[in-house]
């Protein structure tokens, strides 16, 4: 068991957003979390990553047997959790290469591994760039500064490829992507999948799931998982809309 969320409650600015989430993720699995706007999808992603604006009021989260909620955001990352941001921030003057080199070496240090030398590092990132069809020039440019929406999202997946997380959380990675960029991003994610890692895909629309095929689909509504199923659940949702779920919950 890689991730175990038990009865998780969380607030933002005093407002309760998550109301008792239960979820178990094993290595080798892809989980999709779907739901209408305001259902708590992004909150769940940010709580798992440790964003300080979100206050956990109740419940437990275990990751690789460790109490996740006691770890700082950087230690969660070093333990192998990666969040692909819905809105990646711009970092003027900080090159992608510099960011990634610092990140890779910090993670290695945490794990008691040797620092990666510059030559090996460059070789490694060049290879990973191909995975998301990114241009070399993006390595030297400041992180996300002046990037198009599609480039920003691809850059997130590129960073994910470099950092090789055990648990990747993709927060609305499909939003703002045209169909070509969507295909590139999804191919990247699919290629990175292995028996040793797991992915949580947070999305509003089903279309991303045509490319990243989930093992499980969970529907979030008002801070709770109200329905879980296989990949066919996503298709059903697409056809019937979220109102169908809402009705079911009320019933």
């Amino acid at each position: 068991m890689l991730l175990e969320i038990k009865n998780l409650y969380a607030n933002v600015e005093g407002k309760e957003i998550l109301r008792g989430i239960n979820l178990t993720v094993n290595k080798g699995e892809i989980h999709a979390i779907m739901g209408p706007n305001g259902s708590g999808k992004s909150t769940l992603a940010n709580v798992l990553a440790g964003h300080s604006s979100f206050e956990v009021t109740k419940g437990e989260v275990f990751y690789n047997g460790k109490n996740l909620l006691e770890l700082s955001p950087e230690d969660r990352a070093r333990e192998g959790i990666f969040l692909a941001f819905q809105y990646p921030v711009e970092l003027p003057g900080v090159s992608n290469t510099n960011l990634l080199k610092t990140a890779v070496n910090e993670i290695r240090k945490y794990r008691g591994e040797e620092q990666m030398d510059a030559v090996d590092f460059l070789q490694m990132i060049k290879q990973k760039m191909k995975l998301v069809e990114l241009d070399d020039s993006l390595l030297r440019r400041s992180v996300n500064e002046g990037f198009s929406g599609g480039e920003k999202k691809r850059n997130e997946i590129f960073q994910m490829a470099v950092l090789e997380p055990t648990l990747a959380i993709l927060d609305e990675t499909d939003s703002g992507l045209d169909i070509d960029a969507l295909r590139v991003v999804a191919n990247g994610v699919t290629k990175l999948k292995s028996a040793e890692n797991a992915t949580i895909v947070v999305t509003h629309y089903q279309r991303l799931l045509n490319y990243i095929v989930p093992d499980f689909v969970h529907v979030l509504s008002k801070g709770r998982i109200v329905k879980s199923g296989g990949k066919e659940l996503a298709v059903e949702l697409e056809e019937k809309g979220y109102d169908w779920i809402k009705e079911k919950v009320v019933a």
Partner: protein, 482 residues
Amino acid sequence: MSSTEVKKIEELANQEYKYGFVTDIESFTLPVGLNEDIIRQLSAIKKEPEFMLEWRLKAYRHWLTMEEPHWSNVKYPAVNYQNLSYYSAPKKKPALNSLNEVDPELRATFEKLGISLEEQMRLSGVAVDAVFDSVSVATTFKEKLGELGIIFSSFSEAVRNHPELVKKYLGSVVPSTDNFYAALNSAVFSDGSFVYIPKGVRCPMELSTYFRINAANTGQFERTLIIADEGGYVSYLEGCTAPMRDENQLHAAVVELVALDNAQIKYSTVQNWYAGDKEGKGGIYNFVTKRGACRGVNSKISWTQVETGSAITWKYPSCILQGDNSIGEFYSVALTNNRQQADTGTKMIHLGKNTKSTIISKGISAGKSQNSYRGLVKIARKAENARNFSQCDSLLIGDKCGAHTFPYLEISNPSAQVEHEATTSKIGEDQLFYLNQRGISTEDAIGLVVNGYCKEVFKELPMEFAVEAQKLLSVSLEGSVG
């Protein structure tokens, strides 16, 4: 920002000065106080020719008529100029042929600062003129430079060995009557560096001086004069750290640069003087006059400064663009933390035709500090087609600090093109969280963001200096938090 972020930043801001220590070398010091006798004694100790003494006395008499200025955006208790000693020199001052003859304790001090002279000589090919307190104790690579006709020596030596050059250029950019601190400096300056690059010579190495203030209660008044003759080129590096102490230390240096036809001078500073404790007690007052004259056609003067130290910084490295087509540049990073105050910027005075100037200023404020940019762009009536580009950015870390921008424009020629851009930003919680999420600690994340923000200035620094500058920013913002 959330309360945890603010707390973290406060912790970072509260670290102790790393380079605080006092070296125990016997010093020869003049009694405290300032009068004509003191100046005569000072001049005699330094075996100066008559013209130098006269110049000092003239400056002193003018200084007596002046009042300490108070227009800058800084606050500090009054300085008692009669309570300072105006000369302090290591007592055993041998004539040195090599570094091996330098007092071992002095050498150890340099080692502590991480600026081993030997290492610098061996590894980076940098000739070092080390100023310890007020007197030069080691001058290196002189011979090699001598072959090219380059003069690189302490100011005192230059006064004795090249009086004609000193006489011709001293005070020609910053007159002894220029301002209160320049007049004081002109009267009592102790030592500093002198550089002369002959016609058509490109100085093959970076020239470097490390200044150090050591004796307690000694105001330090350096004087630096750099002349690049026609077609000459030189890159000069100045860097400082100072030991911790309780009294405020006044530092009022004067730097004059002269670039003749087609000559270029690049002057880079990394300044890390003791900034005082968390309450601002005991830091250095840094009131400096730095000015360069692009006297010849097509000449160029470029100032790059990284200012992280001092309790109070008050300086405006400036360019007088006299020669047609001459170029002035100012690249600055000024970081203030705790209770530091900085009022710094530049003046670009366009006199010649087709003159160009660029100003890139990056202010970083943390803790309870106040950081002001003050800049003047003046286009004179006869300066046809003058151009200026100014960019002044401020970065705030935490919410108890201040950033201020005072741009002044005086334009008397309608063909001028002047552009000014200014931004103020805060290190965002989102930026820090993004970096945290990539496995980077908050401390390192702040370092990355700040260094990224300063990149445009750092790229103007010579390589070794850029690395040092980044380290300094890290020390100033991060340090002991682990």
